[in-house]
């Protein structure tokens, strides 16, 4: 199918983007890399009146390290994040996850911020941001505000972004020295959306366990986090993988299957990270 008709505006600065959006009205959409938006428009899942192309705003691009925080400009393309030395050195979770984001031709256009702002429940980057405890920098008509990842992902494709607000950057704390990370996902084909996916951060005595592709958003597995922090064995943590979480089946896997996959991924990654393997199970 083809998209419905819309107007197209290209913004060269954040101010210009906000002005254009104010004029175009609530039915305008931001266009970043377009790798999800264009598919949705081709299916006519959405029929916006205007697209405001923000992908060429230089201030929204690039990866920088400032003290203990990495800032990823929202319009930085996946392919750039994948090869960025700051990301490789300081945020290995994202470096490891990036090859799982779609396919090379899509990573060439798709942006980090576009993926986070879209909040596809099965996407890797929102889950990484949540596991790393990132903070979103949002710009809007009323200025800049910051929202923590824990408060940003609200539901299926639903975030704390208000109409007319734009995700400018994501700030990610560099994990403490000695922190360990795990990433794993199950998909039918390399680069497809995950049937179940896991981001895991272990730092000092604390754990963050995030699943994606299971629920209506990336979700923290609080019961599993508490069990890890209490020193439980991988097998026992895995038994709590989806405890208390709403899990929804889809075309690729039914709900009980997804719960099973989640437990398997968590156990495997914990065993790999801790060297603890319980053969008796």
């Amino acid at each position: 199918m083809k998209t419905s008709a819309f107007a197209y505006y290209r913004a060269h600065s954040v101010d210009e983007a906000l002005r254009l959006h104010a004029v175009a009205g609530e039915n305008a959409r931001w266009l970043a890399g377009g790798q999800s938006l264009m598919a949705a428009l081709n299916f006519r899942l959405d029929e916006p009146s205007a697209l405001i192309d923000v992908s060429r705003i230089d201030a929204l691009r690039g990866v920088t390290l400032a003290g203990p925080t990495v800032r990823i400009g929202a319009m930085t393309r996946h392919v750039e994040v994948a090869s960025d030395p700051i990301i490789a050195a300081h945020l290995p979770l994202i470096h490891q996850a990036m090859p799982h984001v779609a396919h090379p031709a899509i990573r060439n256009r798709g942006t980090f911020g576009g993926s986070v702002a879209l909040a596809d429940p099965a996407a890797e980057m929102p889950a990484c941001v949540l596991a790393l405890g990132g903070t979103m920098e949002l710009v809007g008509p009323n200025g800049v505000r910051r929202v923590a990842a824990d408060d940003f992902f609200l539901g299926s494709y639903e975030t704390a972004l208000q109409p007319g607000e734009l995700l400018a950057a994501v700030h990610l704390p560099v994990p403490a020295q000695g922190a360990r990370h795990g990433f794993a996902e199950l998909a039918r084909r390399n680069g497809d959306y995950a049937m179940a996916g896991l981001c895991l951060m272990l730092a000092g005595g604390s754990a963050r366990v995030v699943f994606f592709g299971l629920s209506d958003r990336p979700v923290r597995a609080r019961a599993a986090e508490a069990a890890i922090e209490a020193g439980a064995a991988p097998r026992d943590v895995a038994a709590l993988a989806t405890e208390g979480l709403a899990v929804f089946g889809d075309l690729n896997a039914a709900e009980p299957t997804k719960r099973h996959y989640a437990a398997v991924l968590l156990r495997r990654e914990l065993e790999r990270l801790t060297g603890h393997k319980d053969h008796a199970a």
Binding site: K2, T3, F6, A7, R10, M38, A39, N42, S55, A105
Partner: protein, 165 residues
């Protein structure tokens, strides 16, 4: 507010200016307006890879890119890559290995593979080749012959560069 936009781009080495509807995808622009029908529209939502072309040297989905977005860019299609001889060895290897049957996926496959081969370095493993073409569906060949052809060209080119096999 206008539904039309004028774009200027370099297309297969030639400067082109055109006024297009804002909603026109790059692949429709190339096929319907420029007569370049090598890139195909298989799915129109980013899954099959049949629409793959090059923008500023990188492979992209023609169905997920607006013509409006390539204003000022350098666009190459399979026609351009063929005419310059840049992928002649690859085309010949596809032919010889039977890496195409109906040929529907082939233009997208060639553009995608050309990007991998252009990266240079050591010869990619078969697994790396499969990973790189994971976004290109082929319903005929079963991929085996495609991987054979790509691996052979990668090996030949690496030898020409003096890389160890």
């Amino acid at each position: 507010m206008s539904g039309l936009i004028t774009i200027t781009l370099r297309l297969n080495g030639e400067d082109v200016t055109a006024t297009v509807p804002a909603r026109e995808s790059l692949v429709d622009f190339l096929r319907e307006r420029m007569g370049l029908t090598g890139a195909h529209v298989g799915c129109a939502h980013g899954v099959c890879g049949a629409c793959t072309v090059r923008v500023d040297g990188q492979s992209v989905r023609g169905c997920l890119t607006l013509a409006a977005q390539v204003d000022g860019a350098e666009v190459e299609t399979v026609e351009g890559l063929s005419d310059t001889g840049a992928i002649a060895d690859l085309q010949e290897a596809f032919h010889r290995h039977n890496a195409l049957q109906c040929g529907y996926c082939t233009p997208g496959m060639l553009v995608t593979v050309a990007e991998l081969l252009d990266q240079g370095g050591p010869v990619p493993t078969r697994a790396a080749i499969r990973e790189h073409i994971s976004g290109n569906y082929c319903r005929c060949t079963g991929y085996q012959a495609v991987v054979d052809a790509v691996h052979e060209v990668a090996t030949t080119r690496a030898a020409q560069r003096g890389e160890p096999a």
